[in-house]
Every structure is written in structure tokens, then in C-alpha cells.
Symmetry: C2
Subunit: 434 residues, 2 copies
């Protein structure tokens, strides 16, 4: 049978990994795809760079967008990255040209996915992006096809390996964020400019995509509440452990079936305290994991390598094999006319339990002042911890609330911060059942 | 669009669950399938039985096999169970009639899967069996499509919820097998005739299917080495804990890339000691989990509910949605001409480390006699434990070997059993990295 001929844009580690996989495992790929899959055209920034892999015999294009017009290829793989620029131009051009696209680009999907999905549907062109979320874990396929019969209530995951590595090392060795970040940068686990990862944006891109698939509605990245891990300290990690929790950066999307005005989808990325015995608490280092809860399937967890050339190439090639076998699904799991119109819920409506850690002056009456603020806002406490005594000096006080609204806790923090005896803005970490 | 019309055989808890899912989640199913999926014909043993679900308007057939000839249905769902009899007759008839089949029947797939796959390929008919392995976990799809670009080296899993429940309770409460089995039977977690589960046969059916998909070759149930959990005692669970292990019934299939005559596939189901910190060690109760290792993706784990009406119905309906969307894959992931011809390796060739627990008379020279047997067979010891002293009485002695061949350990057990001072047949439990 005629090979599936592929045009590949972007020859960084992932692009080189895809080339390598398609060559090293050509026999397996051909058997599973029903025909060979070969890259015949490429585009990348630097033609001369040594990528440890031969580019002989490949048609070379200077401009990525030109790949969309290459008449001899059946599909385009976009591995350039970024929500705008050449990546976006190429994917749009390929879809417009009626050419199937496979991409690992979470930013592009999160920011422009709604329009791209509409264009792909209008053109009847498959758009594969298994590699965009959780690397080698086939989570898009699992949610969109494997759990397709379920009404999902929740999807949650550890979606950024850099953050998980930093938090894991901080917890293991009792070290501070800045120090571990520096080390992660030296080891290549964090970028020179780490903001995208540690401020939660990368995880939010992935969560937006997962939420769209889990709940069958167009991606809505702008509605994701995002917080990163810069403010997490060794002190809070130690308190978390004392309370029976681990701190993880999670992305969580939930379907809330409340009364009028309350039903909708909430999506948020922030550090969470999860029970030490819960499955997500044990996912350490550069691993990713996703938990999904469906009305018939119950709770499902998938865990694996969330980044790197090998796992990402594995996901890209799985999408290519689907193309070769003519297996496809609508981008968000259903045709646009059948997508849900559930609204996004604001973070202020979030209902949960909270860890608050204050630095206060160790003197009589301080706790009474703080708890009066909470009482006035109808926030009840599950527990309080005060460690160490040093009269007149700063000491940490930890408060754990019962279930309350985010809006109330925000007001409480403003008022508590304004108290004379409170020396720093309180640290807030949400507690999740995980 | 025209609905996908389904004929359903078997209305036990799973069959009723499929009917319920297709009705309760009809909106979601139609959106994801691109058209409604409706059961219009059924066959079951007792028409009068109350299943808590209306059968009004469904065409009723006394003989399941007659569903294959129902001209108004597009696909057959087989939920009767059993490797022979009406289940086999129906699936064969449906394939012969060119009708797509979805089944949850692991015994049928394990025992007759090679012939059924050949027939399905000859007829160009899809044969779905996601529900046959690990209930609601979409492991067939994950391995066959999601990891399709990988050369897998190993697939291992907790595949039987009954055994995992029994072992979990034994470990938690320090109780004996027979007692916990009785309780599991009263609670409905174990069948009145539990042999199929506790002797490892059910897990072996599932492992045979997983191995076929992981390594792309026809299912070979007869080549699976099978041991159950009847001989596991509270004493061995306690020793395991002391050594840093948990005892789990695992199904493990490996590709061995040895030298001439050594390359092949090994597949085995038996109790294993797995390191307490490993992911599979923490999967407790009725949960199932599967770990797969691929050359590009690395290590992937999937965990979820392995049985029950809801999870199984979730898997059956996922297969129906694939049918409705015209998504399909060859039964073992590749067309028959592209399947691997790697041979099955015998258990005697297995290379691993072993836990041996003897009951010996507590007297001088016993350990010397036992270790002489091991030395003569070139089996070296990693550790030895003797707990309690009662001169002249029976005491347990635990031996943990370095890596050795199964054939050698079998000979060792024969010789050790023959020693006067050894009072019972030694207990052997294989140690796995998990």
C-alpha cells in the first residue's frame, strides 16, 4: 500500500525524535498503520545544525507555511511551538488546503483551538494533538474515545513536569523554591526563562484542552484560573506534611451541576494540598498523571512521562497511525452543533477548603483578632496550628477552613493582611481531595 | 443521521448496564458517536426476570445465535460469557454474516481469539473487546492505538479484582486466605465457585489478550503459565512486608530479546512480591492496573475499576461509538500477514529472583543442608531470615535468591522438600520489579 507521506515542521528534540521513531520502528509503524509512514519534506530554522539524524533525501523548505502547499505529502506535522507566528500560519494553511494536521502545540490549541476546530470541521480535515497534553500518555484518546460513553464530572492532573520536579525535590530535601529552580535549570529540567512553566501557564494550556474534551465544548483558555508555584516555601511543604498532605501543582476542571446560575464548568491551575495517600500525591519527579471521573467508569488514572523527545514522538506517531488507518474524531469529541454550551464558572464561585499560613507577632489576642475576621465572614475552622513560641517575635500560624467560597476567603485575606499583628500577606493553598 | 441499531445478547448486570448507559447518556453518546446508538433486539435466558430496566419495544429472541441474522441491526453485542456454547456460536455467526461484534468475553477471546481474528479479517468485520480486559480502563485502545508507535518490552498488570481484594484485605488485617475468601463471597466480591478467579485463570485470559496486542501476535492462551493465590498465607505476607514487598497477583508478558533460541515472548500469571514503593504495590481492593513499557514512551500506567456493570458498560459503549464513527483496528493491532512470529518461551527459562519459605525443624545444621542444595545448583542467596527459636520444633526460614533460572529453582525445591528436616513443601513466590 502507498505510504503516508508526511511534511514535518520543526526539527528540535521532538522533531528529531519523530524522525528517529519513524525510522527505528518503521516495521512496527507500518504493521500498525497498515502502510509505511515516511517523512519526505521538512522545514526548520537551521539547515546546518547537527541533529544526530540524517536529513538526506528530504525536501527542505525555508518557510514552514510552504509545507501546506507541498503536493507530494498527505499530512503536516507541526512541531514549531508557540500560539502565534509560523506555527499558527502553517496549521491554518494546512487545514485550508484540506491537509490533515498533527501537532504537539498546546499553546496554539489552547489559544486558537476553537477557531482551528471550526476550520477543521468545515474542511472535513482531521486535527490530531495527542502530544499536546501529558506527552506520551494517550490521554486525549482515552478521554475522547475510551470514556466516550461517560458523563465526566471531573478531570484533574499533574500536567507540568518542571513544577512537579521542583515540588518533589523541595519536599524530599526540605529546600527552598529559588534554589531548586536554579538546580533544575542547570540540569535542563527547567528553561532559562521558566515563567511559562512555573507560573502555571503551560499547565493551563493543557487543562483548557482537557476540559474541552472532557466536557465536549470549545476550548476556553481565557476562563482558566491560573496560579503558579513561586510562592510555595519549604515551611508550607513541612506544614502540609504535618497535616497529612503533599503540595502539587494541579489542573482541575469540574462540571458543577448546581441550581440556576450555578451550573457550568470550572477550570483552574494552582498549587494544591492533596492527601498524602491519594494517587496524585505519589506522582513524583518529571511524571505527569491525569485522573478522570465518569458516571459509569468511576475513577480512572493515567500516569507516564509528560515530556521529552521519546514520549512526545510516541504521541505524534500515534496520531499519524490513526490518520493512516482513517481513524478520527471531532476535535472536542463532538461536531460543533453537538457541543455543550455550559458556561465557565468564575473562580470566586469556587467552593473548597483552604490552608492559610500567617506570620504573626507572638502575643496574646492575635488569634482572637484573626478568628474574628473569619467568624464575620461565616468561615469556620477545621483546625489551627501554632508552632514555636517566641514572645514579641514573628511566628507562623496555620489555619485550615471547612468548606467555604473563594470570594469569602479572598475578603478574609484582605482583612487579615490589614491587621497590625499580621506581618506578611498570608499564604493561601487550596486543599483538594485529589 | 440514521441510528446505529444494536442487537444485545445477555442481560445480566453488564447487559442491563449497557442498556442503562445508552439510555441515560443518550445525548452524550449521540454527540460523540455522531448518531444515536440504540439497542433494538435482545436475547437472554429469562424473559420474565426483573432487571430494573424496561425491555418494552425490543425484539426478543430466545436463541442468542438468531441475533446474528436480525436484518434490522447493524452490530451484535455479546455479553453471555464463556469460551464455548451460545457466546461462541453467536460471535462466529455474526462475523460470518458480516456483522460487527462487540464483546466483553475474555475467555472466548483468549481461547478462540486467533480463529475469530482471522475470520473477522477475512470478512472485513470489526471485532471490539475493550471490555474484556480491565473493565473500564481503555487499555486495549491505549496499547493498540495510543502506543502504536512503540516497540513494547513488557506489559504487566493487576487483572483480577477478586484476587486483589483478597490479598489487600489479608495484608491490611493479617488474616488468612480461606477466611477472607469466605467474606468476599458473602460480600459478592467473589463467586460461589471462585476457582476461575483465585486460580488465576481469569487473569491469564486477560494477560493472553494483552500480550497479543502488546507484541502484535495471535493470542496464545495455552502458553501462559498460571498460578493462583490459594497458597498465599498471612505468614508470607508478613515476611514480604518485612522485606519491603507487597504480594500481588500479576499477569506479566515480556519480550525477551536474547541470543539464538532465547528470543520470544514470556507470559505468566502468579503471585509476585513487588517493592512496596512501586506503583502496582499501591493498587488496592477491586482496582485493576496495567503498566506498559515502550522504547519511546517509557513507562505508562493505567489504573481504574476492573469490573462491575458501570465500568464494563463504559468499555462496551466505547467500542460501539468507535463502530458508529467507523474507527477500527485489526484485532491484534496489525493485519495477520504483519503479525510477529516470535515464539512463546517456557516458564522453565524464566530468569528472576525468588522468595522461598521453608518450615524446618529448629536444629543445628539445617541451614547448612538447605544451602548446600542451592550451592550445588549454582543458586546464590541475597538474604536469609530466621524468626523465632524453638529447639526441636518447626520454624519458618526465608531465603531470597539472586537472579536464577526457574528450572534451577524447581530442582532446588524438589531436593529441599526431600530433606528430613524440611516439614512442608516450600512456598515459592517470585520477586518482580513491578
Amino acid at each position: 500500500m502507498r505510504p503516508l507521506s508526511v511534511a514535518l515542521a520543526g526539527l528540535g528534540t521532538v522533531g528529531a525524535g519523530v524522525l528517529r521513531l519513524l525510522r527505528e520502528n518503521a516495521d512496527i509503524v507500518a504493521a500498525r498503520a497498515g502502510r509505511p509512514i515516511v517523512v519526505t519534506a521538512v522545514s526548520a530554522r537551521d539547515r546546518g545544525r547537527d541533529r544526530g539524524i540524517s536529513l538526506a533525501g528530504l525536501r527542505w523548505y525555508e518557510a514552514p507555511v510552504a509545507l501546506a502547499a507541498d503536493a507530494e505529502t498527505d499530512a503536516v506535522v507541526e512541531l514549531i511551538g508557540g500560539a502565534e507566528g509560523p506555527a499558527r500560519a502553517l496549521v491554518e494553511a494546512a487545514i485550508a488546503a484540506g491537509k490533515p494536521v498533527v501537532t504537539a502545540n498546546k499553546a496554539l490549541l489552547a489559544v486558537h483551538g476553537a477557531a482551528l476546530a471550526a476550520a477543521a470541521e468545515a474542511q472535513g480535515v482531521p486535527l490530531g494533538f495527542e502530544a499536546a497534553v501529558a506527552g506520551g500518555i494517550p490521554v486525549i484518546k482515552a478521554l475522547r474515545e475510551g470514556l466516550a460513553g461517560n458523563r465526566l464530572s471531573r478531570v484533574a492532573g499533574i500536567l507540568n513536569g518542571t513544577c512537579n520536579y521542583i515540588l518533589s525535590v523541595m519536599a524530599e530535601r526540605g529546600r527552598e523554591f529559588a534554589e531548586v529552580l536554579g538546580e533544575a535549570q542547570r540540569l535542563g529540567y527547567a528553561e532559562a526563562d521558566p515563567a511559562f512553566d512555573i507560573d502555571g501557564i503551560d499547565a493551563a494550556h493543557k487543562l483548557a484542552i482537557l476540559a474541552a474534551i472532557a466536557f465536549g465544548r470549545p476550548v476556553a483558555f481565557g476562563d482558566v484560573h491560573v496560579e503558579g508555584i513561586r510562592h510555595i516555601s519549604a515551611l508550607d511543604i513541612a506544614f502540609a506534611r504535618e497535616l497529612g498532605y503533599r503540595i502539587k501543582l494541579l489542573g482541575i476542571a469540574r462540571r458543577v451541576d448546581g441550581g440556576a446560575g450555578r451550573a457550568g464548568i470550572s477550570a483552574r491551575v494552582h498549587p494544591c494540598m492533596v492527601p498524602a495517600g491519594s494517587p496524585l500525591a505519589r506522582v513524583d519527579g518529571v511524571y505527569n498523571a491525569v485522573v478522570a471521573e465518569g458516571d459509569f467508569v468511576g475513577r480512572l488514572m493515567l500516569e507516564g512521562r509528560g515530556a521529552g523527545a521519546g514520549p512526545t514522538a510516541s504521541a505524534v506517531v500515534a496520531d499519524l497511525i490513526d490518520l493512516a488507518r482513517n481513524r478520527s474524531a471531532p476535535v472536542w469529541g463532538a461536531a460543533s452543533a453537538a457541543l455543550s454550551d455550559l458556561p465557565s464558572l468564575p473562580m470566586s464561585a469556587h467552593l473548597g477548603t483552604y490552608y492559610l499560613r500567617l506570620m504573626v507577632v507572638d502575643r496574646a489576642g492575635v488569634i482572637a483578632d484573626v478568628t474574628a475576621v473569619l467568624r464575620d465572614l461565616d468561615i469556620s475552622l477545621e483546625s489551627m496550628l501554632q508552632r514555636g513560641r517566641s514572645p514579641g517575635e514573628a511566628v507562623p500560624v496555620v489555619l485550615v477552613t471547612h468548606e467555604t467560597r473563594e470570594a469569602a476567603i479572598r475578603t478574609a485575606i484582605e482583612r487579615i493582611t490589614a491587621l497590625d499583628v499580621v506581618l506578611e500577606t498570608p499564604v493561601l493553598i487550596r486543599i483538594e481531595p485529589a
